[in-house]
Symmetry: C2
Subunit: 329 residues, 2 copies
């Protein structure tokens, strides 16, 4: 029986190499890394968060299962997470020092090496859709601030009232952050984290990645983190895709997302080894923290994080599905 299966596998492999490769799809999403302690996360809250991660995975999987593009899958998944109030992106994003939600997002399609990004927008319900529109409907890759919103209006994208993004919990975090900052007390990591992202491999062998965030609570001066920086928080090419979450400044300084893919491409590192080297060694060496999700062209997944937890969910190349928050599960 086993040898018969092996023969079939060998035959399929031969057919695959002679004609089209057997289609493999895979997808992984994240809802942010940080000090998610078991104590601070109530069972009720954990349940709704896991449910929203599942819904995002479903949205992406529906695309991939129908033979759709990785780009559509990551867009759909991130849109669900932006609409959820439990993550620091879209609705439920953190507030900046002016009491405004200031949103950044990027999307990249490894097929054609196309990218789009927006930073510092205040009235775009789904920043990932605007990042994608920048990629597909403008000659540019990155638009920031009011200009990005003017572009959105120009292509007929509706603007929402800034109050749409507000949640009471985030508002209270800002008040607390202002008190702590005045008193010179460090902010809890949960005020920083919660960025969302998705990476997918589609049946055509194309990889795409998308990331969306509200950045850091109480941020000032038009600060832009790694999420909308192509190569830092978001990257996809023919062989590899990454979306990052964490202390953005360190991820920019290490060009984290592209560095992982470059190790795979130029040195033949296994995806897991490359992601581990960057996230578990390079980032902490500089004093940063966070995590990434990554996929390679064979459908291998990696999701290392050097924090207590990272919200994540995946469907691997064999169709196995999972959701996890802490190490292990």
């Amino acid at each position: 029986m086993r040898s018969a299966m092996l023969l079939v596998a060998v035959w399929l492999g031969w057919v695959g190499s002679a004609a089209a490769a057997t289609p493999v799809t895979a997808m992984v999403i994240h809802g942010g890394a940080g000090t998610i302690s078991r104590e601070s996360l109530t069972p009720e809250r954990e349940k709704v968060i896991r449910a929203d991660l599942d819904r995002a995975l479903d949205a992406g999987q529906a695309v991939l299962g129908a033979g759709g593009a990785a780009l559509d899958a990551v867009t759909a998944a991130v849109q669900v997470l932006e609409d959820s109030p439990y993550f620091n992106a879209g609705k439920g994003a953190v507030f900046n020092a002016d009491g405004v939600n200031e949103l950044d997002s990027a999307v990249m399609d490894g097929h054609g090496q196309r990218a789009g990004a927006v930073a510092g927008v205040h009235r775009i319900r789904n920043p990932v859709l605007l990042a994608r529109a920048v990629m597909e409907k403008s000659p540019h890759v990155m638009l920031v601030g009011d200009g990005a919103e003017a572009f959105a209006t120009g292509i007929g994208m509706a603007l929402v009232d800034p109050s749409y993004f507000r949640t009471e919990e985030r508002w209270q975090q800002l008040q607390d952050a202002k008190k702590r900052t005045s008193a010179g007390i460090a902010l809890p990591r949960r005020y920083y984290f919660g960025t969302v992202g998705a990476v997918a491999l589609d049946a055509s062998g194309h990889i795409a990645a998308a990331t969306s965030t509200g950045g850091m609570t109480n941020k000032r001066w038009g600060r832009v983190g790694d999420a909308p920086i192509i190569g830092a928080g978001t990257w996809a090419d023919a062989g590899c895709g990454v979306s990052a979450t964490g202390w953005g400044e360190f991820f920019i300084r290490l060009n984290v997302a592209h560095d992982i893919c470059a190790r795979v491409a130029y040195r033949g590192d296994a995806l897991n080894d490359a992601a581990d080297a960057v996230v578990m060694q390079r980032v902490p060496e500089l004093g940063g923290d966070g995590g990434v999700i990554a996929i390679d062209a064979k459908g291998n997944l990696a999701m290392p994080f050097n924090t207590a937890g990272m919200y994540r969910a995946w469907i691997d190349r064999d169709g196995r599905r999972g959701t996890a928050i802490y190490s292990g599960h």
Copy 2:
């Protein structure tokens, strides 16, 4: 005689490896790549441009020659080019669609892997100095727009009146660009190019890179190009540094600056081969154009460009100095 020199060289090499390495310094700067045709560049204009490139090189070399840091050398060189009206950075930058000079800059110190960047500033005389202040005086890497100017004011940096940046030639380019755009006619490359940058290796073996630009004439929507994107237009690490100039969108999509250094670090490519592969193959494959300047830890230089010309000047590891515009010289 030759064998005696060889012996000395071997002995110096042995001393170098046993104690500190013989200090090598090198520097290369650019003033933009584009369709600089010999016809369009008058001898008078060529002369003043070469003189300003020389002055920028002198400013950097003064730092390196005194044993100073690569970071200080690239900052000094870029500052001279920003102050010159002949390049698209600082004074003499192109105008955006609103008739405003909108400036971007980044600086990166491979020693400590630190970086700073600003985008979309309108009242900062030397954006490279603000990018450096972001790196050294803020917890952030990238600040954009009004927020970046608020940060500048907060650290005591003077703002200039936006009229400071204006040159009549750039203003006329904007008027012409608006007419051409209305008529659906493509813009000449000289309306796009002229970004400035510098990369240096200091006697301590540290590499730094800096880039500054006004972006594209008639740009809209808060467009940000590759210059302030760490990894795309500007990168430095322990082994390699790059500053790019060209059609920014393509340089972001290929993460050009970091990709060159990753090829050197992970595959052992010679700097020249890595820079050529990215600039002469990858960028044109996607439909883009431009060039880069690069230095590795041994003081090797590379300065490929796939356009008709690129303003550039250098002092190599053997102290040989040069200035060139077209291929060859």
